[in-house]
Amino acid sequence: MFRHVSTGKTRNKLLGGAATFLLGAIAVANSAQATEELNALVWCDHTDPALIEPFEKKYDVKVNLKEYEGTGAGLSIIEQSRPGDWDVFVIDGVDVHRAVEMDLLAEIPADALPTSDLFPEVVMAENNVVDGKTYAVTEKFGYNTISFDKTKVDPKDMEDMSVIWSDKYAGRIAIYDYYLPVIGLVGLGLGIDTADLGADDMDAIKEKLFAMKKVSKQVGEVVSSQTALATGEVDILVGGGEWITAVLSEDKPNLDWVIPKQGGLRWAQSIGVMKESAKPDLALKFVQYILSPEGQARLATSSCYWGMPANSKAGENLSDAQKAALRWDDQPEYLKNSQLYPIPDADLDAQMQDAWVEMLQQ
């Protein structure tokens, strides 16, 4: 009996405690709940809380982020979503036209963007402006070239693109698993500019891709490529650049990157507002925040990967060490010696992807 009463009291106490806890939790959750939500389809560098939280606090908004790799994957997500699901879209600069053709992006008033503060070479109106209307703006850029461990390979060898398919470093090479920049690099190695790359070049490209696969150890996405280089699993990463090594500059000073004499690929990511967004004003504010000097410095040094900010004023918010890791002062030369990604039409894109899968299956 005593036990029964005691159990009953304990149960009541527990229930009371649980109810109090629940009410408290609900109250805390309500107080922490932002009034609005913004959905952004982004690259992984935007998922750094250090970048997103200041915006969330300032505008009392919760930013829901979905990351993807490669435009095909992003468009695939959009195709599987309902109109209006996404408010902001981060996309490869060269694919902005593709998104505009698909009627995905809204026009951004030109005067709402700090275009005059951007490095002139990365404004890239040919990418972001269609029929005189601005649909996106470059937010970050960098290079797909060759990253390497300078304590394990001869840095001079890395200055020639042919090293990526030579036997000298067989079994010590990783390939970044993104067909466009790597095919572009192979094209540069063969003396073909990315803008001229066509279906007739695919046989030669395939031959070199297969040779490259033969001497490589692995083909992986961003994290596994970076891990392989950082842990010494491989010594060279084809398709790498500052976006792989800069974020590790403090812990792994042995990692370096170079633009070979044949040139490198310049990647540039653009950001735009989705046409079907129900919150275009908030979405534009997000774009403006990302383009602000503060937002740009945070984006440039995101925990996922580093890259040059498009806004030249971001330098004021970066430390000397950060600028050194980004090679801030070398940019004029790098910009001169780099080309944009190939922009294949649908047929050539399919051929490139087939060649890539064929390479993987070698």
């Binding site: 095909g72 994957a73 468009l75 695939s76 150890k217 692995q218 699993e233 649908a346 399919a350």
Partner: protein
């Protein structure tokens, strides 16, 4: 008349019990399957999907060596994993069932399936660390002087097979153990009384009677292994692509839903064939 009414009432009750499961299956298997089969007859033209109602995707699959290779890679890995897992799981199940005292068997089984408690993805990444050039295995072998240079274990088919075997040995151990403990001990005693030695008892009595457990476990291993995307993706280093990886490429990179649906139907056909073979074998065993 009363009998007929009773039968009708029981039939209705039976349908009442079956209907929820039936509706569930129709809604979440039959309809999606029909939709997927229909999509597999469409074509990706440029960046649009056109309902062509033809078999072009199936023809493309057999024409393009890199797509067909995905199926062969999957089959090779799956058969290797299934065979190795059976070879490793059988002695383990036998030891637990026959050599471990009954009061400790439950604990032994829990220990055997302990790795099930960790996340599948975490377990795969852990294997990557174990098999890496600077990983546990290479460091141990280098330390004791068995090798002079680190072995290339990570990002290989071997790594994929190791990751799979680690998982499926647990599954097979359970199915074989269940079979072994159900076998009356008198069968073995009778065989021994008739003059059979230990090996003969195992070969002519124990093994045939535990084959159903092996077959069921092997079939489950086959089905789960051939459809798995995570392990080859993490441990294989993209050095060859299994069919699920090729399917993911169609979806993630090309948004080519018709080709992805085609490859999925082909994968399902392979699994169905394996099921028919397994079911026929089990039926033959019973007759």
């Amino acid at each position: 008349m009363a009998q007929a009414t009773l039968e009708t009432r029981e039939n209705r009750r039976a349908w009442g019990f079956v209907t929820p499961a039936l509706l569930w299956t129709v809604a979440f298997f039959v309809i999606p399957f029909v939709v997927m089969a229909a999509i597999s007859l469409a074509t990706r033209k440029g960046r649009d999907i056109v309902m062509a109602w033809n078999l072009d995707n199936y023809i493309t699959f057999f024409e393009k060596a890199h797509l067909l290779k995905g199926l062969f890679v999957s089959l090779e890995i799956t058969f290797t994993v299934t065979i190795i897992s059976v070879i490793l799981a059988y002695p383990l199940a036998w030891i637990i069932a026959e050599r471990v005292p009954q009061k400790w068997q439950r604990m032994a089984l829990i220990l055997a399936i302990l790795p099930f408690w960790t996340s599948y993805v975490v377990r795969s990444y852990s294997w990557l660390l174990v098999l890496a050039k600077n990983g546990v295995i290479n460091n141990a072998l280098l330390h004791i002087g068995l090798i002079a240079e680190p072995l290339e274990l990570a990002s290989t088919r071997t790594a994929t097979v190791i990751g799979f075997v680690h998982f499926f040995v647990m599954l097979l151990t359970l199915t074989i153990y269940a079979n072994l403990v159900q076998m009356p001990p008198n069968y073995r005693r009778a065989a021994a009384d008739l003059g059979a030695n230990g090996f003969q008892v195992f070969w002519h009595v124990v093994l045939p009677l535990t084959l159903p457990g092996i077959m069921v476990g092997a079939f489950l291993t086959f089905v789960l292994c051939i459809g798995d995307y995570i392990t080859p993706q993490i441990l294989g280093g993209n050095n060859e692509l299994a069919l699920p990886q090729v399917i993911m490429l169609q979806l993630g990179r090309r948004a080519d839903f018709p080709m992805a649906a085609t490859l999925s139907i082909i994968l399902m056909a392979v699994v169905t064939l394996a099921y028919i073979a397994c079911a026929r074998w089990l039926k033959m065993e019973r007759t």
